[in-house]
């Protein structure tokens, strides 16, 4: 199949004459932290791959040219915490229109399924989605189906979870533990062990209990490279009474524990995030925890969540790094989250709107913002899948007879 496509491409080449690129994004400000780019550059795409990133690539060399002078051009965004097992539990969403429309070309489902139902998720949703869907496998065999299964240690089979992760290394990037209420370390320790056995990372959603403290979690139970998600939430004590970032947060960061936003319906509060950011405790990765509740109020789409950090004082370059190069590194997929020549062409074209906007946190407190990030165009594997301003599309008057009508 691959070879067939290659032959076709070669045959087609002479007909296209100079048009060696399928798509050319011209004059956008390219922010590509992995490749240390932050400059006005053109991005040329051919055969689903990034063909060239350079200044002044001739427009005549491309079949479709997008004038991106008003926009930022970034690697396709990576959301490492979302819930897209649409045929699974009730809270999950359909992936494509909740990811691609917001520039997200890679979304990681954070533990909606476990080893018992991951393969159903794969065949019902992952294999059919245009979005690149990856997964953290829940340490709970039955996945995220409520307290009854999620608090059941008997569901947490380290070997079975690790085996499933090893069976699908191209999709499963880690092991998730979440919502566990009993006051012991079983869920965390088993998730970490399964991650260790599958050479992946653990993502931890943590509810502290007497005898099971947050400090111990991030300093002792989690390994370097493991991810604490929801870290601006109200459950974990990241700030002291004076709103100062606790010393153990810095210490955990130094030893390599990663901190992920995982916004959701309960885990992002301006009164926690603002002082933490002011003191320089920024997220390693910005993610949505998008599901049926968080997608409505507080409308936690990735571009909205990014906009919150931008308005709380992070630079655009820092924000972009938290949704491209950083998450790619966190899930050990360094080939993603970058506009590297030869790599798969996942690209987001973002507008930075100026005006007056409202951004809500998980408690529905409002930040009146003067700038907002909005995705205007998304390229997934070389194909334009979202183009709200019609930048790549032909005007109907110039389209010729494109239906049965002249």
């Amino acid at each position: 199949m691959r070879r067939g496509l290659l032959v076709l491409t070669l045959l087609a080449a002479p007909c296209g004459a100079q048009q060696i690129y399928d798509l050319l994004l011209k004059n956008g400000r390219v922010i590509d932290p992995k490749n240390q780019r932050n400059a006005v550059l053109d991005v040329a795409i051919a055969g689903g791959k990034i063909a060239r990133v350079a200044q002044s690539i001739p427009a005549a060399h491309a079949r479709v040219v997008v004038e991106a002078g008003d926009y930022y051009v970034t690697p396709g965004l990576i959301d490492i915490h979302a819930h897209f097992d649409a045929q699974g539990a009730d809270l999950n969403l359909n992936p494509d229109h909740n990811a691609l429309r917001f520039g997200v070309t890679t979304a990681v489902d954070a533990g909606s399924s476990g080893w018992k139902n991951f393969e159903a998720f794969k065949s019902n949703v992952i294999d059919k989605a245009d979005t690149r869907l990856l997964a953290f496998l829940n340490i709970v065999g039955a996945g995220m189906y409520g307290a009854e299964v999620e608090d059941d240690v008997a569901q947490m089979d380290v070997d079975a979870a690790a085996a499933m992760a090893r069976k699908y290394p191209e999709i499963i990037v880690g092991i998730k533990t979440a919502h566990y209420q009993p006051a012991d370390w079983e869920a965390v320790d088993r998730a970490v062990k399964a991650a260790e056995r599958s050479a992946t990372v653990a993502m931890v959603d943590f509810h502290p209990k007497p005898g099971r403290g947050y400090r111990e979690l991030i300093l002792q139970h989690m390994r370097p490279g493991d991810i604490h998600t929801h870290f601006y939430g109200r459950l974990t004590p990241q700030l002291d009474a004076a709103k100062k970032v606790q010393p153990y947060m810095w210490e955990a960061r130094k030893r390599g524990v990663l901190f992920d936003v995982g916004h959701g319906s309960g885990s992002f509060w301006f009164r926690i995030a603002a002082p933490a950011i002011q003191q320089g405790f920024l997220p390693d990765t910005i993610s949505t925890d998008l599901h049926k509740d968080s997608v409505m109020l507080p409308r936690a789409t990735l571009t909205n969540v990014m906009s919150k950090f931008l308005n709380l004082g992070m630079t655009l370059e820092q924000v972009i790094a938290c949704v491209t190069a950083n998450p790619a590194r966190a899930i050990r997929r360094p080939e993603l989250g970058a506009l590297t020549e030869g790599g798969e062409a996942d690209v987001a074209v973002l507008a930075l709107d100026k005006g007056r906007f409202a951004l809500l946190d998980s408690g529905h407190g409002k930040l009146t913002a003067d700038k907002r990030i909005r995705c205007v165009l998304t390229v997934r594997a070389g194909k334009v899948v979202w183009d709200t301003e019609g930048l790549s599309l032909t005007d109907w008057k110039e389209a010729g007879p494109y239906s049965n009508f002249k």
Binding site: F357, G363, T388, L393, D395
Partner: protein, 407 residues
Amino acid sequence: MKYFPTFLFFAGLLSAQPYDLVLKGGHVIDPANSIDGVMDVAVTGDRIARVAAGIDAAGARKVLDVKGYYVTPGLIDLHAHECGYSGSIFPDDSALLAGTTTIVDAGGPGWRSFDDCKARVIDKAQTRVLVFLNIVGHGMLGPKIEDNVEDMDPQKTAAKIKENRDIIVGIKTAHFGRPGWAAIKNAIEAGRLADAPVMIDDKIFSNTGRTSREKLLDIMRPGDIQTHMFNDRQVEIVDRFTGKVQPYAVEARKRGVLFDLGHGAGSFLWPVASKAMAQGFPPDTISTDLHANSIMLPESDMPNCISKMMLLGMTLQDAIARSTVNPAKVIKRFPELGTLGEGRVADIAVFELREGVFAFKDAWHKKRLGSRKLECVLTVRGGKVAHDANGLGYPEWTSAGEYEVIE
């Protein structure tokens, strides 16, 4: 003297029952009640309490300043896909965000699969989901199943409708690829048995042995709905050679056949729609055919469909009528739905009509620039704010203290 305490008692009742929600200062467009002007809308519980200018909002639990916005009944999308079809999308995160509070699944499930759809999607959605039941028992599961005449049972279809009148509003036939009238006639027979309208999406090819003329003039009943009206293959509203609206389409409309937009990923084409609109042949109902594809590049959500109609010359008021009261009547749900009538369910949409340069895409991804774009900023479903893009109902975090989740 004897009546005085009674009077006080009732006066006390009135002032003791403050509104739960008041939308203040918006331009209300409620075609069902001939309202088109600046008014307030008050909600108590899940019902519209009052629509009037200068409502006293003192004591209301929540007052939203919607000055500069348009306030309409929650939109009714007569043709979308929520379950039973592979491109289905769950409604809340597509419908409610667009001001659509009632969405009608157009033939995803048939009588065999309806209960499953109900349990998995309809009962779980915050959006009101209604259904045109597919005449095919297994529903919209691809050509093999949809061409199977054996699985088209008017009796069983009608029986399922009668058991579920609260949800099923009619019958759908779609994608029938074999020659002859079997699918359409079975659907209409089910419609006759259940006293319900039929929505038709029909392939007209040269070898089908069917014509649009015969279908629209002889076979469809008044009240039946031809969807995908601005397609160029399924029903030829505009003559492809002369560019004129077909006389039989005009005649069919006169006899009560209804024409629905059903935008989708193949059924709204600028060359067709602009000719029909220029000749005064608009859709009776504006609908999206929203599914996994049409929501992406064509962006066929309701505010976009309305904006496209406005680009082709329809007024906002007229477009709102064709997205509220008209579809409510088509599915025989008026006056319960599609109105801001006092005492009716509080399904409300608030829109901003933006001015600027906007690209609108047809189903074949050809763009046309327009100067006005309707965007939903707030949606109320059953009295509850489900979507609030501009945070109208919420306080600045810096002045709200150590708040819990603010309703």
